[in-house]
Subunit: 470 residues, 2 copies
C-alpha cells in the first residue's frame, strides 16, 4: 500500500491539486478507451514538466511504487490503464503539452509528450510543413502515447510509423534520471540506439517526456481514387504497378472488402462511393504531389488506365474535387464505426509480408468458415504496409454475445495463420495487457529472453508500467 | 591464452581449413582499411552458415574467448580489427555471402551478412529494383558491416541509413543462441526493438548473420546538376527550395567547398566541372524520377531558375547526359582521393542540425584559424543530412607530419564545436576503437549508464568485439 508520506512528497513536488486521489476524479484515468477494462490506482499524478516527472519517478523508485504512464488513453490494447491491484500511480502526461520549438530549415519540431497529435499536425501545417502521422484518435491521442506504441495509421506507406518520424527523445529513466537525447540529427552513429528502444516499449522501460519529430514539405495537392477489383491478388498487382508509376508520390493504399463497404452504406446511408455495381474488393489510392493538381491527376489516371487495360481492376472513380476525395476517405474511415453499429465482433491487427496478403486472406477465411460457418469477415486495412484489420463478425443467425464467447478460438486461428505466413499479431496497436500472454505463444524463448534481459537492465524493480508487454 | 583444445573444437565445427592460425594468412584480417592499426589474434575463423557461427560463439562463451566479427574490413574507426593482446579470434563473415531470397511484391531481399553491398545492389537492379545504400567502399564492404555500423552514404537524404533499409535480422547472441528475427514486415509492434539495438552496435552485442532488406522501385531516370554559390547559408536556402519543389524526388544534395574541388582538379586534371569561374561553394543536386527524363530535367531546371532569380545561386550546370551526370558525381567522389594525394590531414565525420551547418562552418573555421593559422579546410559532405566530412589540412608552409601531431587538439576544436551545436562526433562512421574514448567526453553519464546496462545485459562476459564502442 502507498503511504500518506509518499503522497505528501508527491504533493510537495507537483502541488496538492495535481495529486488526484478522489475516486470520482480518478475514474476517467482508470478505464480504457473502448470501455472494456477498469483498473485501480492509489493516485493520479499530473506533472507539469520534466523535472517534476524525474522527481516523482525518483520517489516511486525509492518507495517501490509502480507507475503507469498515460497520454490520451486512446490505446486499443490496455497499455495505458493500471491493473486492479490499486498499488500503482497513474502518471498523466497531459499537462506537458508545450510545443518547445520548431526549426523549418532542419524540418523538425520539438514537443512535449502530452501534446495532442492534432495540435502537432496543425502547428506544422500553419508553418507550411507536414507532420504526417494520421490516425483515427488524432484529436485525443498524445505524442507520448504515439511514441510509446510506435503508432502507425494511414500515412505509413510513404512516411513510416512513429519510429521513423522521431529523431530524438527526452526520457526519464526508471531511477528518476533524465536522459537528454533530444537531438535533431538525421545521422548520429555514436552508440546503442536508445531512442528506438524507448519507442514502442509502451512505457515499460522509462517515461518519454519530449521528442524531436521530423517535418516534411507540405505536398501541393492530394488526389484520391477508389477502384473496384475482383480479388486481393489483383490489389497486390495494382500495388506493384502503383509503386512503379508513382514511387514516393503514392501516399495511401487501403484495401476494403465488399462486406466492409456494405456495412458503411447500411449504417451510414448518406455515404456513397458512386460505383454502379458492387465489387468483391476495393482499394483507396492516394497520390500526393508537389507540382500541380493536373500533374497528380494525370499520374493517377494513367495508372488507372494501365491497370484497367491489364484487367487488374474493374472500375475506378477518380475524385475530381477535394470534397469528393474527402468523401472517399470518409467511407474508409467509417468502417470501424459501421462495424460497431452492426454489433460486437472480434478485432485483429495483423501484418504479413505484403506478398502473402492474398493467400493469408484466402486461407484464414477458409479456416474460420470451417470453424464458424457463416461468420462474416470485415477485412480492410493498410495493404501497402501488409497490415490488415481482419475483423470477424457473427453469422447472421447467431447473436453477437454468443459469438463473442468464441473470441479465444477465433484469435487462435487468426494469429496462428498470420504467424504461419511470417506475420505479426500486432502490427500497429502494441501489446499492452491485452496481448501480453498471447505474444508468449509466438515469440521464441531467445527473443523473450533478450527482451527480459533488457527489461531487467533498465527497470530492475519492474515498476515501469507493470503487466504490460512482458 | 587460447588452448589447443579450443582451436581443435573450432576445427571440428568449421573444418580445419577455416581455422586460420598462420600469421601470414591472418595478416589481412588484422590491419584496418586505412593501414593505421595492426592488431593481433589467436585465429581467424571462417564460418559458412549460421549454425556454425552459433556453435563457434557457444565455444567462445564457454572458454571466455573474445570475438571480433569482421565483414569487408573497410571501416574507418577501427571497429573490425582486434586489439593487440592476441587473446581474441576474428570471426570473418565473408563466406556467408548467399542471397537467400528475394520477394518482388513485398519488395524485400534476404541476404547473409557476408554479402558484398555491390552484389546486393546488382541483384536488386537485375530484378528491376533499387537497393539504395551507396558508399565509397561498396565493392568491398559487406551487409553485415553496413548493419553493424548503420552505414550512411549518398542516398540517405531520400532512403535513410542502413537502419531504415532493414526490416529484420538473424543474430547469434553472445551465448551462442540464434535469434530468428528475419521478418519481412513493414509493421510489427510486438515488443522491444531488438533489430535497431543490434544495428549500429558494431558487433558488441551479438553477431548479425543475415538480414531482410527493403527494395524500392527502380527510378526511371536520374538527373544531376552542379551549382556554384557564395556561402553555405545559400546552400541551405537552396535545400529548402529543392525540398519544396522536388519532395521525395530529391535524392542527392552534396556540399563541396571551393578548396575541395580545387584539390580534385589539381590531382586529377582530367576532372572538370565546366564552370567558367570558381565559386566559394558548390552543391551537387540529384533528382530521381519515375516518369521521364523530360519531366525530371524540367523539374531541375525550374528549381535552378527559381534559385537563380532569388540570387541563391551564381551559376549552374545541368547534366545533359548520363555521362555528364557521372562526371559530376565523379568529381564529388574524388575529393577523398585528392585529399589523400595532397598529403596527411585530420578527418572528421560530424553532423549538426541542418539549420546550423552554415554557422558551424563559420565558427569552427574561425576557431581553427585562430589555433592553426593558415590551416586549409576540405569541407564537403551530405548537406541534406546535416553531415559534413570536415577535414583539416596543414597550412601550405607546414609539413603534414608536423601538423598531424596536433591531431588531438584539432579533434577537440571540431568535436567541441559540433556538440555545441547539438551535433554528433560520428555521423555515419561509428565509434570503433578510434572514438571510444572520445565519446566519453560528450555523452552524459545517464546515456553511458544506459548503454552499459544494455551491454552487461546482453554480453555479461564482454566477449563481443571488446574495446569497441564502450
Amino acid at each position: 500500500m502507498i503511504s500518506p508520506e509518499f503522497l505528501n512528497a508527491c504533493r510537495d513536488i507537483l502541488g496538492a491539486g495535481q495529486v488526484i486521489t478522489d475516486p470520482e476524479d480518478m475514474a476517467a484515468y482508470l478505464t480504457d478507451w473502448r470501455g472494456r477494462f477498469t483498473g485501480s490506482a492509489a493516485a493520479v499524478l499530473r506533472p507539469a514538466d520534466t523535472q517534476q516527472v524525474a522527481a516523482v519517478i525518483a520517489l516511486c523508485a525509492a518507495a517501490k511504487v509502480p507507475v503507469v504512464p498515460q497520454g490520451g488513453n486512446t490505446g486499443l490494447v490496455l497499455g495505458s490503464v493500471p491493473d486492479r491491484t490499486g498499488n500503482a500511480v497513474v502518471l498523466s502526461m497531459k499537462r506537458m503539452n508545450r510545443i518547445r520549438s520548431m526549426d523549418l530549415v532542419n524540418n523538425t519540431i520539438t514537443v512535449e509528450a502530452g501534446c495532442i497529435l492534432e495540435t502537432v499536425q496543425d502547428t506544422a501545417s500553419e508553418a507550411g510543413r507536414l507532420f504526417p502521422l494520421s490516425l483515427a484518435a488524432e484529436g485525443s491521442c498524445t505524442i507520448g502515447g504515439n511514441l510509446a506504441t510506435n503508432a502507425g495509421g494511414t500515412a505509413v506507406l510513404r512516411y513510416g510509423s512513429m519510429r521513423d518520424l522521431c529523431l530524438g527523445l527526452e526520457v526519464v529513466t526508471a531511477d528518476g534520471k533524465v536522459w537528454e537525447g533530444l537531438r535533431g540529427l538525421r545521422k548520429d552513429n555514436t552508440g546503442y540506439d536508445l531512442r528506438n528502444l524507448f519507442i514502442g516499449a509502451e512505457g515499460t522501460l522509462g517515461i518519454i517526456t519530449a521528442a524531436v519529430l521530423k517535418l516534411f514539405p507540405q505536398p501541393k495537392v492530394q488526389v484520391t481514387a477508389m477502384v473496384g477489383l475482383n480479388t486481393p491478388e489483383d490489389a497486390l498487382r495494382l500495388l506493384t504497378m502503383a509503386q512503379a508509376t508513382c514511387a514516393a508520390s503514392l501516399t495511401g493504399f487501403e484495401l476494403m472488402s465488399q462486406f466492409s463497404l456494405a456495412l458503411v452504406t447500411k449504417h451510414f446511408p448518406q455515404m456513397r462511393t458512386g460505383f454502379a455495381q458492387a465489387y468483391p474488393q476495393y482499394v483507396l489510392l492516394e497520390i500526393s504531389d508537389s507540382e500541380s493538381e493536373e500533374h497528380a491527376t494525370a499520374m493517377l489516371e494513367a495508372l488507372v488506365a494501365e491497370a484497367m487495360e491489364s484487367e487488374v481492376l474493374c472500375d475506378a472513380i477518380v475524385a475530381s474535387s477535394i470534397a469528393q476525395s474527402k468523401a472517399l476517405w470518409s467511407v474508409r474511415e467509417h468502417i470501424t464505426l459501421a462495424q460497431a453499429a452492426e454489433g460486437k465482433h472480434v478485432k485483429h491487427d495483423v501484418s504479413v509480408p505484403i506478398s502473402s496478403i492474398a493467400e493469408f486472406i484466402d486461407k484464414t477465411d477458409a479456416l474460420l468458415q470451417e470453424a464458424f460457418p457463416g461468420c462474416r469477415m470485415v477485412t480492410f486495412g493498410h495493404l501497402g504496409d501488409g497490415n490488415l484489420h481482419y475483423n470477424v463478425s457473427a453469422p447472421e443467425d447467431l447473436a453477437d454475445e454468443a459469438f463473442i464467447t468464441h473470441q479465444d478460438a477465433i484469435n487462435r486461428i487468426v494469429h496462428d495463420s498470420s504467424v504461419r505466413f511470417g506475420g505479426s499479431i500486432s502490427a500497429e496497436h502494441g501489446l499492452g495487457m491485452l496481448k501480453r500472454d498471447e505474444i508468449r505463444r509466438y515469440k521464441s524463448d531467445v527473443e523473450l529472453g533478450l527482451m527480459l534481459a533488457i527489461k531487467n537492465a533498465l527497470d530492475p524493480d519492474r515498476l515501469m508500467n507493470p503487466g504490460k508487454v512482458l
